[in-house]
């Protein structure tokens, strides 16, 4: 692995990532590794390492995680935040790392399924409603229970929900999300690492 030049690091990367000011205590990280020990993903993919990602963000290294496969593996289980002695909300940092990646056309294949779900939810007022065949089953099960065949959600709710998507710019953003110019992601944290199968 070539020697990294410290002066190539990005000044102020931390604030460029945490644009929503949700993880203001990142510098309290002791690099103790409690997060990684608890992380279900790290136990399956050792190259995914929340502690190292925090270290990269703090030292201004924007190269490794941006086009990495690793940041798309986090389960958002918040097992890291639960054990962190300084209560660093790592999932909220991960969310924003993913935004930066998507802005640079990385990882779009992991967003596209949710574009479809979100746009359909915008119509239904409910999320993850299945296709026609699935809906028939749901209606049957619900009727057997003696409740309304479809969850009771008012037309007003659906209209207002749709409107909120429009007002906050979500609809436009989702419609424009496309994987046309997608750039590939690869495992970036594997160099110099012990991987045991």
């Amino acid at each position: 692995m070539p020697r990294e030049k410290y002066k190539d690091k990005i000044e102020g990367l931390y604030k460029q990532v945490d644009t929503y000011n949700l993880v203001e205590n990142l510098e309290t990280c002791l690099a103790c590794g409690k997060c990684v020990g608890n992380c279900p993903v790290a136990s399956l993919n050792p190259s995914y390492n929340p502690r190292q990602i925090i270290s990269d963000v703090l030292s201004g290294d924007g190269d490794r995680w941006l086009d990495s496969e690793e940041i798309w593996r986090c389960f958002w289980c918040a097992g890291c935040a639960t054990v962190c002695p300084n209560d660093i909300q790592f999932p909220l940092l991960m969310m924003q790392l993913r935004y930066r990646a998507v802005e640079n056309n990385y990882g779009l294949k992991y967003i596209m399924p949710f574009k479809r779900f979100a746009l359909r939810a915008r119509e239904d007022g409910l999320t993850f409603a299945p296709s026609e065949k699935g809906r028939e089953k749901i209606k049957r099960y619900r009727s057997n229970l003696g409740v309304s065949p479809w969850p009771e959600i008012s037309d007003r709710a659906k209209a207002e929900y749709k409107e909120l998507f429009d007002l906050t710019g979500a609809t436009e953003y989702l419609n424009n999300t496309s994987d046309e110019s997608e750039k590939p992601v690869t495992f970036k944290y594997t160099e110099g690492r012990i991987i045991s199968e």
Binding site: Y20, N21, L22, P40, V41, L44, N45, W72, R73, C74, F75, W76, C77, A78, G79, A81, T82, V83, D87, M95, R98, Y99, V102, I111, P113, F114, F117, A118, A121, G125, L126, T127, F128, A129, P130, I138, Y141, R142, N144, L145, G146, V147, P151, E152, I153, S154, R156, A157, E160, Y161, E163, L164, F165, L167, T168, G169, A170, Y173, L174, T177
Partner: protein, 317 residues
Amino acid sequence: MNEQRVVAPEELIPEVPESIFLFRSCTGSMEYPGTENAIKEVMNKLGVNIVMDPDQTCCSGYLLTCSAYKPEVSLAVTARNLAIVEKQNLDTYVFCNGCYGYNRELTHIMKHNPAYMQMANDVIAKQGYKYEGKTEIHHVQELWYRLKDEIAAKVVKPLQGLKVGVHYGCHYLAQQYHILDDGGYPTFHEDIIEAIGGTPVFYKERQLCCGYSVGRGITHKEATVQPHLYKKFKSAKEAGVELMTTTCPGCNVGLDREQPNLAKRYAEEFNIPVIDLSQLISIALGVPVRKLGFEANTVPLDGIINRLGLERGESSL
């Protein structure tokens, strides 16, 4: 962090409410409608009135987990939903860990960042709503624990020592503050299981995430979620778990629907049915099986129903 972490149930819910607002869960009402029914049955027996509102929409927190869009819409939707609850002057009771985690996280952001509260209120004001941050976010599992003794007193079909492995899920305990138990070694579900006559099993991977995470279960199912779930079920099976309980329809989907795929991939049958804790409590309180919607479960409940000597009821199972 001066806020208290674990609080006793009497402190979390000082007065048992007469009425609660039951927050509809998308996955709950579609994938496992029996869960919602079970909750209504148990609340009925405990004398708590349930209010729901057709104007309430999806909590939309999943957008945070999958990063499909920025938090603005989730904040606005949360503010709108909770404004609807506040109009009824009730506390919000969710029955999905996901809804719990997202609602608490987003309300925390709004309460501690006035700019975000303002932004959300500006948007929903256009629809005539105002969110004041008054309603408390609770999960029905908190009420089950708060009323554990009342539930125990009303048990008519004790579970005969059924070996139950609980699955806490991640997003309730991950809030860490102002919750019922410690994320390091929670025991309150096991206390409830004992109260209704079951035998709680502390299997090694008891606290492992379900892996579904509203995201990775779709994008990385074969890559990470299946090997991950295999570990969990292997540990449960080795410990002799007969039934698994959840308090999150999302976890229920992850644990229940994936088992046939695991069986195929790893050539190993687990056959551990997964139901909501509320459904298990309902069984113990004598709610007929036909009201619990087990036909929606992928891993059939036949074995458990026979084991407990319950009647199946009219719906096909």
